[in-house]
């Protein structure tokens, strides 16, 4: 037997995983698993995988629901509004404060992100409908939290099923008070994942923030030629702040950041910026396209993970502006280069050649690849929880070598891939974390940065490098085997 190539191993792993399923499920899953090759032009998406389809029933998917996409991702981090989890108690409680959407403000007084407001449906609300209760909720919220700048209603599953009209209830209250009240029909059963929730939430921003005349938000912001907005950064562990600082250093003015640490006024002011900078394409391309079409605002995607991509993105952003910005951009790059060189010199020797398997959501399955490669690490498997085809098309540009591509991978498959391909590090979410740690594999949570971060921007990359080193080179992984078990080993 000759030496097996990485690609051959990857293809064999995919084949083997599919064998475990009953026929119908195997046929379905075969379409979502593939091997991406950077040079293969014939691939329509990375690895030719299909995406944004229904999850196979009865497996342990890592996917969330439309409510999670709207409340947990898009609307939830908007800090000066109150987001009602409308329906039974669970959804709000499970989604409370888990995403580390950092913000500055006095919680419970003028900011509310880490709180849980629920209409706590009881059986009678299911039987008789919850619209009346919702109307009372609005009044109670305004009486007890007078500094809130608006309310969103995040529908849980029963709302759509019992036929409640949250839109009408919201409209009545908005009319009565002049406040921004946003009903969001993001019931969990809609769509196949959290992705539809992002889209639905984006549409409500369009309808209730842009199309409405918001009068209660203080003075208008005087415009400049350098106004930009950060779109699709949820400020996990402060990511948007470590991104914002770079844009400001290059002479741009960030008038809004969506939606981590965002206020309603920032969002309302966005249609006047010169350029929208989109970090998480999946969750906020809809509203960016809308602003382009309606207000003529161009948008561009950028990637602030790892210096290679950061530099590329900074230059691309600068190219939208005049020479003064472009010059400052080069100054920013030059300013940080010695620090970045230092970080890479320090950590690359400890991480070089280590193989990584990723499974996350949003933008990270492709965006973070460059950051690992900057440290000499090799990403050999990646996939998204809730991507669409355009995400997988974009992924092709980011991979450096043959890579297993797994769409909506479930616990069984991910575990099997890890066992077959033996990566040195797995980077995914909380639900998978302890599975791999028990196997003695270094692990990092790449949804929450494992309670560290930020990871965006130059400052974030230094933390990323340090954290990967911490994960890979901790002595604790050597303890799994007892000394009395070591005899007889090679």
């Amino acid at each position: 037997m000759g030496p097996e190539t990485l690609e051959a191993k990857q293809r064999a792993a995919v084949e083997e995983v599919l064998k475990a399923y009953p026929a119908k499920a195997a046929k379905n899953r075969a379409k979502h698993l593939g091997v991406g090759a950077p040079e293969d032009e014939s691939q329509k998406t990375c690895g030719n995988v299909r995406s944004n389809k229904k999850t196979v029933p009865g497996v342990m998917s890592q996917r969330g629901c439309a409510y999670a996409g709207s409340k947990g991702v898009v609307w939830g981090p908007v800090k000066d509004m109150i987001h009602i989890s409308h329906g039974p108690i669970g959804c709000g409680q499970y989604s409370r404060a888990g995403r580390r959407n950092y913000y500055i403000g006095t919680t419970g007084v003028d900011t509310f992100v880490t709180m849980n407001f629920s209409s706590d449906f009881q059986e009678k609300d299911i039987v008789f409908g919850g619209d009346k209760k919702l109307a009372v909720c609005f009044e109670e919220i305004d009486a007890l939290f007078p500094l809130n700048n608006g309310i969103t209603v995040q529908s849980e599953c029963p709302i759509g099923l019992i036929g409640d009209d949250i839109n009408a209830t919201s409209k009545v209250y908005a009319k009565k008070t002049g406040k921004t009240i946003v009903p969001v029909n993001c019931e969990g059963f809609r769509g196949v994942s959290q992705s539809l929730g992002h889209h639905i939430a984006n549409d409500t921003v369009r309808d209730y923030v842009f199309d409405a005349e918001i009068e209660t938000l203080g003075e208008e912001i005087a415009q400049t030629d350098y106004d930009v907005a950060i779109i699709g950064d949820y400020n996990i562990g402060g990511d948007a702040w470590s991104s914002r600082i770079l844009l400001e250093e290059m002479g741009l003015r960030v008038v809004a950041q969506w939606s981590g640490d965002a206020t309603l006024k920032e969002m309302a002011a966005t249609p006047k910026v010169k350029l929208n900078l989109l970090h998480c394409y999946r969750s906020m391309n809809y509203i960016s396209r809308h602003m382009e079409k309606e207000f003529g605002i161009p948008w561009m995607e950028y990637n602030f993970f790892g210096p290679t991509q950061t530099i590329k993105s900074l230059r691309k952003i600068a190219s939208f502006f005049d020479e003064s910005i472009q010059q400052k951009c080069e100054e920013v790059i030059a300013k940080y280069q010695p620090m970045i060189d230092g970080v890479i010199n320090k950590y690359k020797p400890r991480l070089e050649g280590k193989q990584v398997m990723l499974f996350v959501g949003g933008l990270r399955p492709r965006h973070v690849i460059g950051a690992y490669e900057d440290l000499g690490m090799e990403v050999i498997g990646t996939g998204y929880e809730f991507a669409h085809d355009d995400d997988y098309k974009r992924t092709k540009d980011e991979i450096f070598r043959s890579t297993v591509i797994y769409d909506d991978v479930n616990e069984y498959e991910l575990e099997a891939f890890v066992k077959k391909l033996q990566p040195d590090l797995v980077a995914s979410g909380i639900k998978e974390k302890y599975v791999f740690q028990k196997m003695g594999l270094p692990y990092r949570q790449m949804h929450s940065w494992d309670y560290s971060g930020p990871y965006h921007g130059y400052d974030g990359f230094a933390i990323f490098a340090q954290d990967m080193d911490l994960a890979m080179n901790s002595p604790v992984w050597a303890h799994s085997k007892a000394p009395w078990d070591k005899e007889g080993e090679a």
């Binding site: 399923y21 009953p22 499920a25 229904k54 029933p57 009865g58 342990m60 998917s61 890592q62 996917r63 969330g64 629901c65 999670a68 000066d80 329906g87 039974p88 108690i89 669970g90 409680q93 500055i104 403000g105 006095t106 919680t107 003028d110 629920s118 449906f121 299911i126 909720c137 109670e140 009486a143 007078p146 500094l147 599953c157 029963p158 019992i162 969990g188 769509g191 209660t216 938000l217 912001i221 702040w241 400001e248 809004a256 640490d261 206020t263 309603l264 920032e266 970080v343 575990e415 909380i430 639900k431 974390k433 791999f436 028990k438 196997m439 003695g440 400052d459 230094a462 933390i463 799994s480």
Partner: protein
């Protein structure tokens, strides 16, 4: 900018002047009513601490703010993970399961297996039969469990799916390839809009036991069933087993999730430990069943006493000294054995410890919240120590709980001024703490915001605990569990005493080395 030799994460990074400027400059764009006027924020913040605010807050009828409860299927998932090689299966959207798994995983720092059948819009219209037929088959094929326990989400309940019929249909369609006729699929309806996570625990436990024991009624054995309830302390289950083992009792822990959420490193198997399915099938023939959480097992225990006719069954709550004594005496009664000397020694050591530490707990005022049975147990212990529970808050209080708690408090003069708050949430608690302050709080991680806002020290006991490590590995039941409670509480009191007296050359005359 980061320094290569001293890379810091956000905690320190954002304190640096360049970031402080970024955060300050951002205010210009934030607008709104609060952010532009710090004086207004301060004024409203002060108002939220007043009696006026409290009255408005307590008058709330519709909106729940910062609840201290979760929904039914969460409890059902816990039941399933207490049985050997059993997969919890949630009939509904996978979004719910992602939440259940994350919630438990964050508390236990352990994997939490659970599948769903990923219902979407079409299932909402046509029902979830196809999802369930495919889902049960896929689950059996991939994970090879010995039993599947099906619970429901609010979605499945609103559309009214029939679990029994669906499970039968799945087996018929499968023809036995993955789901043989005898493969146990137990089920319960667990609507999220009724009760809380403890209701779901009860429904699933009752459903599973009824279905597994059907047709198995035979000769009564000398076995004793013990049901832990929605127990989030792994150590508590082990403490209870230890007591039963000291008696040499023939017992079965029905729903033992202690190994599942405490797996050793070095290997990963999806399932660990749990009640043997055979033991669960035979549980109907035990001489008695002891539930350790009355309010988490009300329906289950009703079935056991009325239909299984296990007359000697009882609900006991082995938290604290008296609770543990009662449990021990009940075991003595059921086994017909003397109380073992080892347990007598353990009790003596606990009492010795209580007598060593009591001055620091005596007279201290506590606010406490959590599940109903947890509260009965811990409040009972506080009273045993001469502490003064002042606010006892149970968001998911079932009928009868408030009266029982009141009666418990009435046994002690120390609790004369104690308030019992049934059905209230943690935003209510915030008002209570501002207007009628206490010395310490006992509760879960949601209390950390209350600690920040009110300055009341928090002793982490309860569920969920996300931001402190390993507490769930300990016991709060049995004599050793009471010693843990005593240790955690007393040492927090001492920590606070040190904190209050550490002012150099001002208050440190009371900063004693020996205590």
């Amino acid at each position: 900018m980061q320094e290569v030799d001293n890379i810091v994460n956000g905690q320190k990074l954002f304190q640096r002047p360049e970031y402080q400027k970024v955060l300050k400059d951002k205010k210009e764009f934030e607008g709104g009513m609060g952010a532009i006027d710090p004086a207004k924020v301060a004024e409203v913040a002060e108002w939220t601490k007043t009696w006026d605010y409290r009255e408005k807050n307590l008058a709330r009828e519709a909106i729940t703010v910062n609840p201290a409860k979760a929904c039914q299927p969460l409890g059902a998932v816990m039941v399933a993970l207490g049985f050997e090689n059993t997969m919890p299966y949630v009939h509904g959207s996978h979004g719910c399961v992602a939440y259940f798994r994350s919630y438990f995983t964050r508390h236990f720092k352990e994997p939490t297996p659970c599948v769903s059948d990923s219902m979407t819009e079409d299932a909402a219209v046509f029902g979830g039969l196809v999802n369930m037929k495919d889902g049960l088959k896929n689950c059996a094929a991939l994970y090879k469990p010995d039993m599947i326990m099906v619970s429901t989400t609010c979605m499945a309940e609103v559309i009214g799916d029939d679990l029994y019929a669906f499970a039968v249909a799945a087996k018929e369609e499968d023809g036995g390839e993955y789901l043989p006729e005898e493969f146990p699929i137990t089920y319960a309806h667990t609507p999220s809009f009724v009760g809380s996570h403890i209701t779901g625990y009860d429904n699933m436990m009752q459903g599973a036991l009824q279905q597994l024991t059907e047709g198995n009624k035979g000769e009564e054995t000398d076995s004793i069933n013990i049901i832990p309830g929605f127990e989030t302390y792994i150590g508590s289950i082990r403490s209870v087993k230890h007591i039963a083992e000291e008696f040499g009792a023939n017992y079965v822990m029905l729903g033992d999730h202690s190994d599942q959420w405490d797996m050793p490193a070095g290997d990963y198997q999806m399932f660990a430990g749990g009640t043997k399915i055979e033991d669960a099938r035979n549980s109907i023939n035990a001489k008695a069943t002891i539930s350790l959480q009355k309010y988490s097992t009300a329906k289950t225990m009703k079935m056991i006493t009325k239909r299984w006719k296990q007359k000697d069954s009882a609900e006991l709550n082995p938290i604290g000294l008296r609770g543990t004594d009662e449990f021990v005496m009940k075991l003595a009664e059921l086994t017909g054995k003397e109380i073992p000397a080892s347990l007598k020694t353990e009790r003596g050591r606990l009492v010795d410890a209580m007598q060593d530490s009591y001055p620091y707990m005596h007279g201290k005022k506590f606010a406490i919240w959590g599940d109903p049975d947890f509260l009965i147990g811990v409040v009972s212990f506080l009273l045993e120590m001469g502490a003064e529970p002042t606010h006892v808050l149970c968001h998911n209080a079932p009928r009868g709980w408030e009266e029982e708690m009141r009666a418990l408090l009435d046994t002690s003069p120390a609790a004369a001024d104690c308030h019992v708050w049934a059905g209230k949430d943690l935003w209510h608690m915030r008002s209570l703490l501002f207007t009628e302050p206490v010395d310490f709080m006992i509760g879960n991680s949601y209390g950390k915001e209350l600690m920040r806002d009110t300055g009341t020290p928090l002793i982490y006991i309860g569920f969920p605990i996300f931001d402190r490590h390993h507490l769930h590995r300990y016991s709060i039941s049995g004599y050793d569990g009471a010693l843990n409670l005593l240790t955690w509480i007393t040492n927090k009191v001492l920590d606070q005493l040190d904190e209050d007296t550490k002012g150099i050359a001002s208050t440190d005359y009371f900063f004693d080395l020996v205590r």
